[in-house]
């Protein structure tokens, strides 16, 4: 009886939108163990609700992961956090380490200077990629940065030559 109530309570609390998003991700790649290297390119925050920000960075062929790139984020009140991409190109920042105030992204400061709130730098600091628009609430980068450029997506996050 008690177990039944618990199951019922869990079902009642389930978010049907999130459940559908999780289902849409499909199964794990059997050749990649579940962990920091799994599911590159997929919208991390759909499952990882303990992440403040996460995504995947590619080289300029848009396929090869960019390992060792530094992703830096500056929020609306100037709080900053960084992460380094792993061999799958994945990076993540936990909420326990950084709680951004939205929006995060490019803006003009009081002195008329452009502040790039989201940037990615590989081994060559002259080849930084900077996001030119804003993120209003969801730093699960791959939710917008999908594999193909479409009307709804600017395509994958990538850095040009100089990638490590």
């Amino acid at each position: 009886m008690k177990r039944g109530l618990l199951v019922f309570a869990a079902m009642a609390c389930a978010d049907p939108v999130n459940s559908a998003e999780r289902s849409a991700l499909g199964p794990e790649d059997p050749s990649v163990p579940k962990g920091e290297l799994h599911r590159p390119g997929q919208p991390c925050l759909v499952c990882h609700d303990d992440f403040a920000a996460a995504g995947t960075v590619y080289q300029d062929d848009l396929v090869t992961p960019s390992e060792g790139a530094t992703v830096t984020l500056i929020d609306a009140v100037g709080s900053q956090s960084s992460a380094t991409t792993n061999s799958a190109g994945n990076f993540f920042i936990r909420k326990s380490d950084w709680k951004p105030t939205f929006p995060v992204g490019t803006y003009t400061d009081g002195n008329g200077n452009t502040v790039f709130g989201i940037s990615v730098v590989g081994s060559d600091p002259n080849n930084a990629a900077q996001m030119i628009t804003q993120v209003g609430r969801d730093l699960g980068c791959n939710a917008c940065h999908q594999p193909e450029r479409t009307a709804e997506s600017p395509g994958p996050i990538y850095i040009t030559t100089g990638a490590p």
């Binding site: 929006p103 992204g105 628009t133 804003q134 609430r137």
Partner: protein, 178 residues
């Protein structure tokens, strides 16, 4: 006798309901007194909203009730695959007239009766509109409270609703707000 009266009442209500349905045409349209489309485009109201509300993770999503199109987020033409993201300054393509109009229609069609009432009253009580209440954080809004009554962002929106969009406030709203 009592059940006879009851039957008459029920029959009368049913007849009235059928009669009423005859006037509810399936292609019935209602108009809306809306603020000016030209000002929405040229005074910077749309550009401000695209910048502040229209990112791809917020109202730049086609599934939202309020959808914003523009060069900072969602593009209108589904065939524009491969487009360089962003506006012209960053190598992309600026918001098109069609995108401005689509955003306008999305906004003014959200609550047509309320929009009509606000516009007919010269922009008095813009907070009757849900999008104003949400922007101010007075209604639940996942994006939080974005504007404060009287600041440039708020003035940009409310002046447009009142019939004379404040171009300076809209320009400031873009540059002042991260």
């Amino acid at each position: 006798m009592r059940s006879y009266a009851y039957a008459i009442v029920v029959a009368s209500i049913a007849a009235l309901a059928c009669f009423a349905c005859q006037f509810a045409s399936s292609d019935l349209r209602t108009g809306v007194d809306a603020p000016d489309l030209g000002q929405f485009e040229t005074a910077g109201v749309a550009d401000y909203m695209d910048h502040r509300c229209g990112s791809l993770d917020c109202h730049g999503q086609a599934t939202r009730n309020l959808v914003m199109w523009g060069c900072n987020g969602l593009r209108l033409d589904p065939n524009e695959t491969g487009l360089i993201p962003g506006c012209r300054a960053s190598g992309g393509k600026n918001t098109t007239p069609e995108e401005y109009e689509a955003s306008y229609r999305s906004l003014v069609g959200l609550e047509p009766a309320v929009m009509t009432a606000v516009v007919q009253n010269g922009g008095q009580h813009p907070e009757l509109l849900t999008f104003i209440r949400k922007a101010r954080g007075w209604d639940a809004h996942k994006g939080g409270a974005l504007v404060t009554p009287g600041d440039d962002q708020d003035v940009c929106l409310t002046s447009w609703l009142a019939g004379s969009a404040d171009q300076t406030a809209c320009a400031n709203a873009i540059t002042e707000t991260p």
